[in-house]
């Protein structure tokens, strides 16, 4: 089921239907539900979603595969938690290593995407040649071969990277207590970065007065909620 979901995430990112099932908020929550840890899945989804707020999976742009990175990081973390029976403190400490691991996964996704696109280009050339020769092509088959390649890419990435990621996350339990605590605190502090990423997006593209209005609303909320 996890592999199937990985295929869907990979396919949805650019191939279709681009219904944003592949976005971290959705995919990580689904992983969480699948592995019986919905709260943790949602938390990871929120972290990655805000971190990659500016991520636009445009067809024509070469970008690291952040959606697969988020999915695999979360699956690795939660799989490790299940396999090694993580306590809360170790689970929290493993968040940062799993996120860093995700960056490497995203980079490998970029190279796999390049490979798939080159293959799609060759498929286009084959089909153009066959039309020129007078045989009417099976466009649907060739097109779905491209979509299928994206799906397989996701399955393959999950098959290779989730066990590796789970093993890396599992190593955290052997760390000294002080390092585990520092990593745990770090996982709280990293919210500063993900919030900065999301706010920076609107700061760039939107009017500043809206920021002030929103901040004022937040301060008023705080005034009444914090006792």
């Amino acid at each position: 089921m996890l592999l199937f979901l990985a295929g869907i995430v990979s396919m949805d990112t650019t191939s279709g239907p681009q219904a944003l099932i592949s976005e971290p908020l959705v995919s990580c929550s689904l992983v969480g539900m699948l592995l019986g840890m919905p709260g943790e899945g949602l938390l990871m989804g929120l972290l990655f979603q805000m971190l990659w707020f500016d991520y636009m999976p445009l067809g024509a742009v070469r970008l690291t595969d952040n959606n697969m990175a988020s999915f695999i990081s979360t699956a690795s973390l939660l799989m490790a938690a299940k396999m090694y029976g993580f306590e809360d403190s170790i689970l929290r400490a493993a968040i940062l290593p799993s996120m860093i691991f995700g960056i490497g996964v995203g980079l490998s996704g970029l190279y796999l995407n390049d490979f798939i696109r080159k293959r799609n280009g060759r498929r286009s050339e084959e089909i153009i040649a066959s039309v020129e020769q007078g045989s009417l092509p099976a466009i649907m088959v060739k097109h779905w071969a491209g979509i299928g390649s994206s799906f397989l890419k996701g399955v393959l990435m999950a098959l290779v990277f989730v066990p590796v990621g789970a093993y890396i996350c599992g190593l955290v339990r052997f760390f000294p207590y002080k390092t585990i605590s520092a990593l745990g605190i770090g996982s709280y502090l990293i919210w500063g970065t993900v919030i900065a990423s999301a706010l920076h997006f609107y700061w760039q593209y939107s009017r500043k007065k809206y920021f002030i209005i929103g901040s004022m609303g937040g301060i008023i909320w705080l005034f009444f909620s914090v006792k």
Binding site: L51, G106, I195
Partner: protein, 255 residues
């Protein structure tokens, strides 16, 4: 509704529905060299089979649509609808030449690229994320449903509407690309997103454990550090690695 059944009669509702459904997979075989050529041919195929009957005509039809093509995937149906109309007019010798279809596809595809990216990737997606985050804060996993609904319901509606509008307007469809109603909706979404996100950030920071002064101070410090790096145009992955290092060092100091 009357328009729906009267004007698309020549293509037929089932073929139109197929084109609509296929448009969701328009980028399926994206390539660096030809971009969405195969996707376009795949999407328009059901209509083409209705318009052209002879093998030679079909061959030329496929060759026309297997050429380089690039458009915003969400605005794809707008181009598809217009090209279907142009194909019909070309068949009926109604003032459209083969070259016109080729030129139209190239020009309008590019135009939808820039406009669509702004509508959907810069406005609707972030807006859906912000509403999803807000809902997740209050109702947990329901935030996921809210996010998906806010993004997908307008997309599904607009794609159908654009397919029909494209077909109705034909080459005059360019007037629909810069739709004033949509422009103002986009501005409202940008404004609401910019208001809700700082609000959400502040109420989130009032939540334990961030209420603790030293954790809040650490978050603020990392926030400023990250803003500095983003301002220096560093990619999020690099900012994450640097920030994770700083976060662990801060964690060690605090511990």
């Amino acid at each position: 509704m009357a328009f729906l059944f009267s004007e698309i009669k020549s293509i037929g509702f089932p073929a139109f529905l197929k084109v609509y459904l296929r448009s969701f997979f328009a980028q399926g075989s994206f390539s660096g060299k030809y971009r969405q050529n195969l996707g376009f041919a795949y999407c328009i195929e059901p209509a083409g089979n209705r318009i052209w009957e002879e093998a030679e005509q079909k061959k030329n039809f496929y060759l026309r649509h297997l050429e380089y093509f690039n458009a915003n995937p969400f605005m794809f149906p707008l181009v598809l609808g217009a090209v279907i109309k142009m194909e019909e007019r070309f068949r009926d010798d109604d003032g459209i030449r083969e070259e016109d279809i080729r030129r139209f596809k190239l020009a309008v595809g590019q135009a939808t690229g820039s406009v669509g990216d702004r509508y959907f990737w810069r406005a609707l997606r972030p807006f859906a994320i912000v509403l999803g985050l807000l809902s997740a804060y209050f109702w947990g996993l329901w935030g996921v449903t809210v996010f998906l609904a806010v993004f997908n319901i307008p997309i599904m509606y607009l794609k159908w509407r654009w397919l029909l509008t494209g077909y109705r307007l034909g080459p005059r469809v360019v007037i629909e690309i810069k739709n004033k109603g949509l422009e103002s909706t986009v501005s409202i979404m940008e404004a609401l997103g910019s208001i809700v996100l700082p609000f959400l950030t502040l109420i989130f920071l009032a939540h334990p454990p961030y209420r603790l002064s030293w954790v809040s101070a650490g978050v603020c410090l990392l926030f400023l550090f990250s803003v500095f790096l983003f301002h220096k145009r560093q990619p999020p992955s690099r900012v994450l690695v640097a920030s994770a290092g700083v976060a662990v060092v801060l964690g060690m100091i605090v511990f």
